[in-house]
């Protein structure tokens, strides 16, 4: 392993992280809900009366964030090398996996670890471990 000093951005990473923490704090302190994106989304697939508006609003906020960012600065362009077939496979795995495992990077990784939840710690170790192995296999063994 070597550190990629050209791409390592500790300051913006930490300040962006603080914003994410503030967002999770807002949702739990104001609305009593966990800011877990997969949970927010999957809750819309089994709608319960009076429990959908806040979910839709949260998703709209996420999707609308680039527009608001544009008011202050030029948007950084995401770099997506993955082809369409692999994107579909990845999407299906993320959809099924986060539903089966009850959470994703935000729900388990941020909110769960903030709550010192043992379940979320195990989930985070499992998905990060699987992510490390997957990238190792695709980049270094298969050379994709």
């Amino acid at each position: 392993m070597s550190i990629d000093w050209n791409h390592f951005t500790p300051l913006t990473a930490t300040s962006g992280g603080v914003l994410i923490g503030i967002a999770a704090a807002m949702l739990v302190l104001l609305n009593g809900r966990i800011a877990g994106i997969s949970g927010v989304l999957s809750g819309l697939l089994r709608p319960v009366d009076g429990d959908s508006a806040w979910r839709i609003a949260f998703v709209l906020g996420l999707v609308g964030a680039p527009l608001v960012y544009l008011l202050f600065a030029a948007l950084p362009k995401p770099h997506i090398d993955t082809g369409h077939g692999a994107l579909i496979l990845a999407g299906l795995l993320v959809g099924v996996g986060t539903s089966y495992g009850s959470g994703c990077t935000s729900g388990h990784g941020v909110c769960g670890l903030s709550r010192l939840s043992p379940r979320s710690l195990v989930a985070t170790v499992a998905f990060m471990g699987a992510g490390f192995v997957t990238v190792f296999v695709t980049r270094h063994l298969l050379g994709i």
Partner: protein, 145 residues
């Protein structure tokens, strides 16, 4: 009012993902690439988020209702099971394939990225298929974390 608070929270969350660079799958894959040129940024994003989150959830745990008067819905499950571990591993494999997890994918979608749309559509199909299976079993699933 709750919906408005949610909209603001989603907006701040999305801005955090853009500022931190996590809306860019290439940067996320740079973190997951331990065997290559490693970019530790994602760990700093989580540290920043958890530092604030830990304070917020300590306060939240002491409240019986939210500041806007809503019921506090914090996960109560404590058992470790196959669903949690296997599901998280499947998620991690998908995350490693494209560098997208649900939040950043939605933000990239808002940037007008067609590839993010492809990913999000497949992700919703995956969630929907899971939901259908659960309903067929007619056993209520645990609350998502």
């Amino acid at each position: 009012m709750m919906a408005f608070a949610s909209l603001l929270a989603g907006l701040v969350f999305g801005l955090g993902l853009i500022v931190s660079g996590m809306a860019n799958p290439a940067k996320v894959l740079g973190f997951l690439d331990l065997g290559g040129n490693w970019d530790p940024s994602l760990a700093f994003v989580m540290a920043g988020a958890i530092a604030v989150g830990a304070v917020a959830f300590t306060v939240a745990n002491r409240r019986s209702r939210s500041m806007l008067g809503a019921e506090m819905r914090l996960p109560s499950a404590r058992h470790l099971d196959r669903r949690l571990i296997l599901g998280s591993m499947l998620f991690g494999i998908g995350w490693g394939v494209a560098g997208f997890c649900p939040g950043p994918a939605l933000v990239s979608l808002g940037m007008g990225e067609v590839k993010a749309l492809v990913f999000v559509a497949a992700m919703l199909v995956g969630m929907g298929v899971f939901e259908l299976f659960e309903r067929r079993k007619s056993v209520p699933g645990p609350h998502a974390a």
